[in-house]
Symmetry: C2
Subunit: 186 residues, 2 copies
C-alpha cells in the first residue's frame, strides 16, 4: 500500500466528496476551499475541476446525495408522523454538512436534474408521513399540514445547528425535537 500514487487516484471523486464533508463540518460550506480538498486527497490543486467543473458542481453533487439520504431516512419511518419529524431533525444533526449545503441553493446549481429528483423524493416522503397523521377524519388540508410539519421540524433543526437554542433545551436533539413536534399533533 503505497502512500502516494502518481496519477489515477482511483476514486478521487468519492475521496473529494468525503473530504468536503469533513471540511464543511469544520469550517462551514461557505469557507470550503477546493484547494484544501485537493490537499486532503493528496492531489494537485486543479484535480477537482475535472470531476466537478467548479465549486458549485461539487456542492451540487453533495446536495443531491444529501436529499437522497434524507429521503431514505424519512421512508424508513413508515409514515409515522412523529418519527418522521424526529428523523428529519436527527438527519440534520447527524449529517450536518449535507444539511447545511442542501438548504443553501445559492451555493449550488438548483436546477440540476438529479438533485431535483432526489429533492422530490424527500418531499414525497415527508408528505406521506403527514397524510398518515391527518387521517383521523374531519376536513383535512394535507398540503397545509405538511407545510406546518416541515416548518416546525426544519425550524427546530436549523435553530439547533445554529446554536441559537438556550442551554435548557438539553443536549439530546431527538428527545427535544419529539417534545416540540408533539405540540403539532396534539
Amino acid at each position: 500500500m503505497t502512500e502516494t500514487r502518481a496519477y489515477h487516484h482511483g476514486d478521487l471523486r468519492r475521496a473529494l466528496l468525503a473530504a468536503a464533508l469533513e471540511a464543511i463540518e469544520e469550517v462551514g460550506p461557505a469557507a470550503l476551499s477546493l484547494r484544501d480538498l485537493a490537499r486532503r486527497a493528496g492531489v494537485s490543486h486543479a484535480a477537482p475541476t475535472h470531476h466537478f467543473g467548479d465549486k458549485a458542481g461539487l456542492l451540487t453533487a453533495l446536495a443531491a446525495q444529501g436529499f437522497d439520504l434524507l429521503a431514505q431516512a424519512l421512508i424508513a419511518t413508515h409514515d409515522d408522523f412523529l418519527e418522521a419529524g424526529v428523523a428529519y431533525v436527527d438527519f440534520a444533526v447527524t449529517h450536518r454538512a449535507y444539511f447545511e449545503v442542501m438548504f443553501r441553493p445559492e451555493l449550488y446549481r438548483a436546477d440540476d436534474p438529479e438533485l431535483l429528483a432526489a429533492r422530490e423524493r424527500s418531499g414525497a416522503a415527508l408528505r406521506s408521513g403527514v397524510a398518515a397523521l391527518s387521517g383521523g377524519g374531519g376536513p383535512v388540508d394535507t398540503d397545509r399540514d405538511a407545510l406546518a410539519a416541515w416548518s416546525i421540524a426544519h425550524g427546530f433543526a436549523t435553530l439547533w445547528l445554529a446554536g441559537a437554542l438556550p442551554d435548557r433545551v438539553g443536549d439530546n436533539p431527538r428527545e427535544a425535537a419529539r417534545a416540540v413536534l408533539r405540540r403539532l399533533s396534539a
Copy 2:
C-alpha cells in the same frame, strides 16, 4: 454637492453597512466582498478595516442591528401570538439580508456583548407572545411552547427564503405563514 470628497467620508460606517445589506441581497452573506463594499461607497479597499476590523466585525454589527430590529417588530405585536409569528416571517422576508446573517453565527463574533443583548431582547419578545397564547388555563409549559412557536415560524421563514417551498404556497408570505402558524394554536 461635490461627487467625490477626499478623506473623511462623513458617515462611512453607516454607508458600508447599507452597502453590505444591498450586496448580501444580491449575492448572499458568504460571497460578500469587503473590497466591493469599499467600491460601492467610493473609498479605498482598506477603508472598511478602520471601522470594523475585519469581515466578521462588519457582520457582527449587522447581526446586532438585525436582532434589534427584530425585537422591535415583535414588541409591536403586543403579545399577540399569531401576529408575532407573522411578524417574524415578515421580518425575514422583508429584511432578508439581516436575517441571513443573524442565523449564521460562524460568520460573525457570536460573543459580542452588544449582539448578545439585542438577541436576548428578541428572545424575550418571542416568549412574551407565546406566554399570552398559553394563558387559557391548564398546565402550560411556556418554554416548550415558545420553542415550538419559534421553530415553526423560523422554519417557515428559512424554507421560504431558500426557495424550497412548492409554488402552490403562493407569493404572499404573511398570508401563507398565518395559515401555517394557526396549526399550532389550534
